[in-house]
Subunit: 309 residues, 2 copies
């Protein structure tokens, strides 16, 4: 008879006060203080291996598919001819893996500031980090904000901001000058996707409204979409899609998307063509975040930003 | 200066192993062992008052709106002329409150087995339990399975099963004979809605498949839909809508629904007309639960059940 599993300790990511998600931890697989943050990988009971940065859950073996599919596929299925993609952050390789599923993608630049994150993924998440071995992937260990400041204009079809929360060294990835650099790097039909925290979390509602207003001054379309990620605070996660031309729902061509997905649709576990439209339909309390922002604009030009949902 | 809040203890609902949602608890407001279960109300730091039954979170002040809106409004906006509704369980009054928002509803029977739940709601959740004071509400403290066995046929337009998990005394609310009694009680266009646990939780995947197959033998349409409920296990919750005639998406009349909702749409915080269709679009891993069930039917007639999503 197998011995019962031994737990070293219970680890809790506090979302607010003493409320948060607790994990039973069997072992610590990786534990390193980098120049930027504490990088840990925990072996947990219910979610498998869990990567944390400064104690915040970045991904778990069991539910990473939701985040990584949803940060990529809505934009990639919407773009008519995506060829070149920039990922800012995403040093674990999960977002890269999803982008590289498309045979028509020719090059992906990935800019990760912290090489210890890449090392943790190489050690503990080979099913994510093996994406770095694809010859189309180019890894840059550098600051994302500096990278986009210096890159050549009209280079990318899609920029994906796969960052941590807008605090400390990642704060520069949520400001207007960063978004302006991104807009300059994008081709004519280009799009930017950024993770934008949980709209259920009152701490981040103001920064969600601010990001939406800033992007609305730079792109003709700005829309939020949602996904269920059990191990992220409140389980409800948002992304912002900013697009130079195409509307993410009205201009979505289901048949083109289905053809694009066909070679690997059976390997996707969350995203599908029907879910694309559904992800942009927002609960009323989320819609009101933007209605409120529109009725009291900090700058009159934020009225140019398009409706949400 | 205000003194810092005092926490009595941290309360965790374990979802699997030692993984689960933890709450900082300031006070215990209600604590009674009924004939059926331990009924507690906790004052928590991040979710306000929380009702637990046998240690499982049933509702919280902060996110109860999602569950209560989503168990009612999709069916009520789909039905052409809903007049009479049966709620099985739901002793807190939250589901009743949502049903009674519609002026055209003439009578709601609510059958709750445990009067201590009603008392806890009366004491700690007046914004839910005041629905019992509406003259259209009829409260029956009784066993739901017995009630549906004895009620007159073709009485209700909608039956809502607002129960705890399918264990102990609530197990009878998830079996085929219960569903058959419900089908008999429903009028020609009638519908049944039941909460059906989290599809992310492997413990309940088999019971979700079983419920879908059973309902498929009794109703012409059986469809799952989803909602984000942060304090329920995995944060992703499912409902099953079984309908005698109408398809919940193809037969959904957005304009009729918008007219129906107009008098109280600004008081809803989750459901809206666009979200209706979106809730029925399922992530790929959820769709496959039903594809697998269909490809290996326990009974050939389960093939009659309609596609999902």
């Amino acid at each position: 008879m197998a011995a019962p599993k031994q737990y070293q300790f219970q680890y809790t990511e506090f979302w607010q006060g003493r409320t948060g998600l607790s994990f039973g931890v069997e072992r610590i697989l990786f534990n390193r203080q980098s120049a930027y943050q504490q990088v840990q990988v925990l072996q947990t009971d219910a979610f498998g291996r869990v990567l944390t940065l400064d104690g915040l859950v970045m991904l778990t073996e069991r539910d990473e598919f939701v985040y990584h599919e949803m940060i990529c596929h809505p934009a990639l299925c919407l773009l008519p001819h995506p060829r070149r993609v920039l990922i800012v952050g995403g040093g674990d390789g999960g977002t890269l893996r999803e982008v590289l599923r498309y045979a028509e993608i020719e090059q992906v630049d990935l800019v990760e500031i912290d090489e210890v994150v890449i090392e943790a993924a190489r050690t503990c998440f080979p099913e994510l980090s093996r994406a770095f071995d694809d010859p189309r992937a180019r890894l840059h260990v550098a600051d994302g904000a500096a990278f986009v400041r210096e890159a050549a204009p009209a280079t990318y079809d899609l920029i994906i901001v796969d960052s941590t929360d807008p605090v400390k060294f990642a704060e520069g990835l949520f400001g207007e000058s960063f978004y302006r650099d991104c807009a300059r790097l994008l081709r004519e039909d280009g799009m930017l996707v950024t993770q934008s925290e949980s709209p259920f979390d009152q701490t981040f509602q103001a920064s969600i409204q601010a990001a939406h207003a800033m992007l609305g001054r730079l792109f003709s379309q700005v829309h939020m979409y949602l996904a269920h990620i059990p191990t992220y605070p409140m389980g409800l996660w948002s992304f912002m899609l900013a697009s130079k031309r195409l509307h993410p729902v009205d201009d979505f061509d289901s048949e083109q998307a289905a053809r694009r997905l066909a070679p690997f649709a059976n390997r996707l576990r969350y995203y599908n063509v029907e879910l694309h439209r559904a992800a942009f339909a927002l609960p009323s309390f989320v819609r009101r975040l933007f209605a409120d922002a529109r009725s009291r604009p900090a700058h009159p030009e934020s009225l140019h930003s398009n409706d949400i949902g």
